[in-house]
Protein backbone atom coordinates (compact mmCIF):
# COMPACT_ATOMS: atom_id res chain seq x y z
CA UNK A 1 0.00 0.00 0.00
CA UNK A 2 1.32 3.44 -0.93
CA UNK A 3 0.94 6.52 1.22
CA UNK A 4 1.66 10.25 1.23
CA UNK A 5 2.89 10.35 4.79
CA UNK A 6 6.39 11.54 3.93
CA UNK A 7 5.02 14.38 1.76
CA UNK A 8 2.49 15.47 4.37
CA UNK A 9 5.15 15.37 7.05
CA UNK A 10 7.59 17.35 4.92
CA UNK A 11 4.95 20.00 4.22
CA UNK A 12 4.73 20.60 7.95
CA UNK A 13 8.50 20.37 8.39
CA UNK A 14 8.13 17.60 10.93
CA UNK A 15 10.81 15.01 11.52
CA UNK A 16 9.84 11.36 11.81
CA UNK A 17 10.32 11.70 15.57
CA UNK A 18 7.95 14.71 15.65
CA UNK A 19 5.28 12.75 13.82
CA UNK A 20 5.88 9.71 16.02
CA UNK A 21 5.36 11.86 19.15
CA UNK A 22 2.14 13.27 17.74
CA UNK A 23 0.86 9.79 16.91
CA UNK A 24 2.20 8.29 20.15
CA UNK A 25 4.10 5.58 18.31
CA UNK A 26 7.81 4.88 17.88
CA UNK A 27 9.88 6.62 15.20
CA UNK A 28 10.53 3.16 13.76
CA UNK A 29 6.79 2.76 13.21
CA UNK A 30 6.62 6.01 11.25
CA UNK A 31 9.62 4.97 9.18
CA UNK A 32 8.12 1.53 8.46
CA UNK A 33 4.81 3.05 7.39
CA UNK A 34 6.45 5.72 5.23
CA UNK A 35 8.63 3.20 3.43
CA UNK A 36 5.69 0.86 2.87
CA UNK A 37 7.18 -1.93 4.97
CA UNK A 38 4.20 -1.89 7.30
CA UNK A 39 0.55 -1.07 6.76
CA UNK A 40 -1.02 0.55 9.82
CA UNK A 41 -4.12 -0.82 11.48
CA UNK A 42 -7.41 0.97 10.86
CA UNK A 43 -7.33 2.78 14.25
CA UNK A 44 -3.81 4.10 13.54
CA UNK A 45 -4.78 5.05 9.98
CA UNK A 46 -7.69 7.05 11.42
CA UNK A 47 -5.32 8.75 13.88
CA UNK A 48 -3.00 9.68 11.02
CA UNK A 49 -5.91 10.97 8.94
CA UNK A 50 -7.23 13.06 11.84
CA UNK A 51 -3.77 14.50 12.54
CA UNK A 52 -3.41 15.64 8.92
CA UNK A 53 -7.09 16.71 8.79
CA UNK A 54 -7.61 14.50 5.80
CA UNK A 55 -9.35 11.26 4.86
CA UNK A 56 -7.70 7.87 4.98
CA UNK A 57 -8.16 7.47 1.21
CA UNK A 58 -6.37 10.78 0.63
CA UNK A 59 -3.31 9.52 2.48
CA UNK A 60 -3.31 5.79 1.70
CA UNK A 61 -3.90 4.20 -1.70
CA UNK A 62 -4.01 0.51 -2.52
CA UNK A 63 -1.94 0.99 -5.69
CA UNK A 64 1.12 -1.20 -5.77
Amino acid sequence: MKNRLRVLRAEREWSQADLADRLEVSRQSVNAIETGKYDPSLPLAFRIARLFESSIEAIFTDEM
Binding site: D21, R22, E24, V25, S26, R27, Q28, S29, N31, A32, I33, K37, Y38, P40, S41, L44
Partner: protein, 150 residues
Protein backbone atom coordinates in the same frame (compact mmCIF):
# COMPACT_ATOMS: atom_id res chain seq x y z
CA UNK B 1 -1.91 15.94 22.18
CA UNK B 2 -1.25 13.58 25.07
CA UNK B 3 2.31 13.91 26.25
CA UNK B 4 4.26 10.71 26.65
CA UNK B 5 5.67 10.49 30.14
CA UNK B 6 8.78 8.45 30.82
CA UNK B 7 8.34 5.32 32.88
CA UNK B 8 9.86 6.03 36.31
CA UNK B 9 10.74 2.37 36.79
CA UNK B 10 12.51 2.20 33.45
CA UNK B 11 15.02 5.04 32.99
CA UNK B 12 15.86 6.05 29.42
CA UNK B 13 18.60 3.99 27.88
CA UNK B 14 21.80 5.55 26.51
CA UNK B 15 22.07 2.82 23.89
CA UNK B 16 21.79 3.54 20.12
CA UNK B 17 18.38 4.74 19.02
CA UNK B 18 17.39 1.45 17.36
CA UNK B 19 18.20 -0.40 20.58
CA UNK B 20 16.10 1.90 22.74
CA UNK B 21 13.01 0.15 23.96
CA UNK B 22 9.49 1.25 24.65
CA UNK B 23 8.48 1.24 28.35
CA UNK B 24 6.60 -2.04 27.74
CA UNK B 25 9.69 -3.60 26.13
CA UNK B 26 11.85 -2.52 29.05
CA UNK B 27 9.42 -4.10 31.49
CA UNK B 28 9.46 -7.27 29.35
CA UNK B 29 13.27 -7.33 29.41
CA UNK B 30 13.23 -7.01 33.21
CA UNK B 31 10.64 -9.78 33.67
CA UNK B 32 12.46 -12.00 31.17
CA UNK B 33 15.73 -11.54 33.06
CA UNK B 34 14.04 -12.57 36.31
CA UNK B 35 12.44 -15.63 34.68
CA UNK B 36 15.74 -16.67 33.07
CA UNK B 37 17.56 -16.23 36.37
CA UNK B 38 14.93 -18.44 38.03
CA UNK B 39 15.29 -20.99 35.20
CA UNK B 40 19.05 -21.23 35.68
CA UNK B 41 18.80 -21.37 39.50
CA UNK B 42 16.06 -24.03 39.44
CA UNK B 43 17.82 -26.12 36.76
CA UNK B 44 21.17 -25.98 38.56
CA UNK B 45 19.40 -26.61 41.87
CA UNK B 46 17.84 -29.76 40.48
CA UNK B 47 21.20 -30.97 39.13
CA UNK B 48 22.81 -30.26 42.52
CA UNK B 49 20.10 -32.20 44.34
CA UNK B 50 20.35 -35.09 41.89
CA UNK B 51 24.13 -35.29 42.26
CA UNK B 52 23.90 -35.19 46.04
CA UNK B 53 21.74 -38.19 46.35
CA UNK B 54 18.46 -36.46 46.98
CA UNK B 55 16.02 -38.76 45.25
CA UNK B 56 12.46 -37.86 46.13
CA UNK B 57 9.76 -40.34 45.35
CA UNK B 58 6.16 -40.27 44.22
CA UNK B 59 4.35 -36.98 43.70
CA UNK B 60 7.21 -34.99 45.25
CA UNK B 61 9.56 -36.33 42.58
CA UNK B 62 7.24 -35.10 39.85
CA UNK B 63 6.82 -31.69 41.48
CA UNK B 64 10.57 -31.20 41.97
CA UNK B 65 11.37 -32.37 38.44
CA UNK B 66 9.07 -29.85 36.79
CA UNK B 67 10.17 -26.84 38.91
CA UNK B 68 12.09 -25.21 36.01
CA UNK B 69 8.84 -25.27 34.04
CA UNK B 70 7.58 -22.54 36.37
CA UNK B 71 10.29 -20.25 34.98
CA UNK B 72 9.36 -21.24 31.41
CA UNK B 73 5.71 -20.45 32.09
CA UNK B 74 6.80 -17.12 33.61
CA UNK B 75 8.72 -16.35 30.41
CA UNK B 76 5.68 -17.10 28.26
CA UNK B 77 3.46 -15.03 30.54
CA UNK B 78 5.89 -12.10 30.35
CA UNK B 79 5.75 -12.35 26.53
CA UNK B 80 1.96 -12.27 26.69
CA UNK B 81 2.05 -9.31 29.07
CA UNK B 82 4.37 -7.49 26.69
CA UNK B 83 1.93 -8.00 23.82
CA UNK B 84 -0.94 -6.70 25.90
CA UNK B 85 1.01 -3.73 27.30
CA UNK B 86 2.80 -2.62 24.14
CA UNK B 87 0.86 0.32 22.70
CA UNK B 88 3.01 0.54 19.56
CA UNK B 89 1.45 -1.84 17.06
CA UNK B 90 4.54 -1.98 14.83
CA UNK B 91 6.67 -3.09 17.78
CA UNK B 92 4.04 -5.74 18.57
CA UNK B 93 4.21 -6.83 14.93
CA UNK B 94 8.00 -7.25 15.16
CA UNK B 95 7.70 -9.23 18.40
CA UNK B 96 5.08 -11.59 16.94
CA UNK B 97 7.29 -12.07 13.86
CA UNK B 98 10.24 -12.93 16.09
CA UNK B 99 8.16 -15.49 18.02
CA UNK B 100 7.23 -17.17 14.73
CA UNK B 101 10.90 -17.23 13.74
CA UNK B 102 11.73 -18.70 17.14
CA UNK B 103 9.14 -21.46 16.76
CA UNK B 104 10.28 -22.15 13.19
CA UNK B 105 13.94 -22.17 14.20
CA UNK B 106 13.49 -24.66 17.02
CA UNK B 107 11.30 -26.92 14.84
CA UNK B 108 13.94 -27.01 12.11
CA UNK B 109 16.75 -27.57 14.62
CA UNK B 110 15.02 -30.44 16.44
CA UNK B 111 13.87 -32.06 13.17
CA UNK B 112 17.33 -31.92 11.63
CA UNK B 113 18.83 -33.20 14.87
CA UNK B 114 16.28 -36.03 14.88
CA UNK B 115 17.25 -37.16 11.39
CA UNK B 116 20.96 -36.95 12.23
CA UNK B 117 20.28 -38.95 15.39
CA UNK B 118 18.35 -41.54 13.41
CA UNK B 119 20.72 -41.99 10.47
CA UNK B 120 24.14 -40.82 11.62
CA UNK B 121 23.72 -41.69 15.31
CA UNK B 122 24.87 -38.38 16.71
CA UNK B 123 24.33 -37.76 20.41
CA UNK B 124 20.83 -37.38 21.75
CA UNK B 125 19.19 -33.94 21.80
CA UNK B 126 18.04 -33.22 25.33
CA UNK B 127 14.56 -31.80 25.04
CA UNK B 128 15.10 -29.55 28.05
CA UNK B 129 17.20 -27.43 25.65
CA UNK B 130 14.17 -26.78 23.43
CA UNK B 131 12.99 -23.71 25.30
CA UNK B 132 16.39 -22.03 25.74
CA UNK B 133 17.08 -22.54 22.00
CA UNK B 134 13.66 -21.13 21.14
CA UNK B 135 14.41 -18.09 23.28
CA UNK B 136 17.79 -17.60 21.59
CA UNK B 137 16.22 -17.80 18.10
CA UNK B 138 13.40 -15.46 19.13
CA UNK B 139 15.65 -12.91 20.85
CA UNK B 140 18.21 -12.79 18.04
CA UNK B 141 15.44 -12.40 15.45
CA UNK B 142 13.72 -9.69 17.48
CA UNK B 143 16.90 -7.62 17.75
CA UNK B 144 17.68 -8.22 14.07
CA UNK B 145 14.21 -7.04 13.04
CA UNK B 146 14.54 -4.00 15.29
CA UNK B 147 17.93 -3.21 13.76
CA UNK B 148 16.63 -3.65 10.20
CA UNK B 149 13.74 -1.32 10.96
CA UNK B 150 15.79 1.21 12.91
Amino acid sequence: MKERTPDKNCPQSRSPQWLQKTPAARRYAFRLSLAMFAFVVLSLGLSYLAFHGFHPKGVVAYLVAILPAIAIIATLVSGGMYLSEETDEFQRHLFVQSVLWGVGGIMVLTSVWGWLQLYIHISQFFTIWTFPFFLVFQSVTWQTLRWRNR
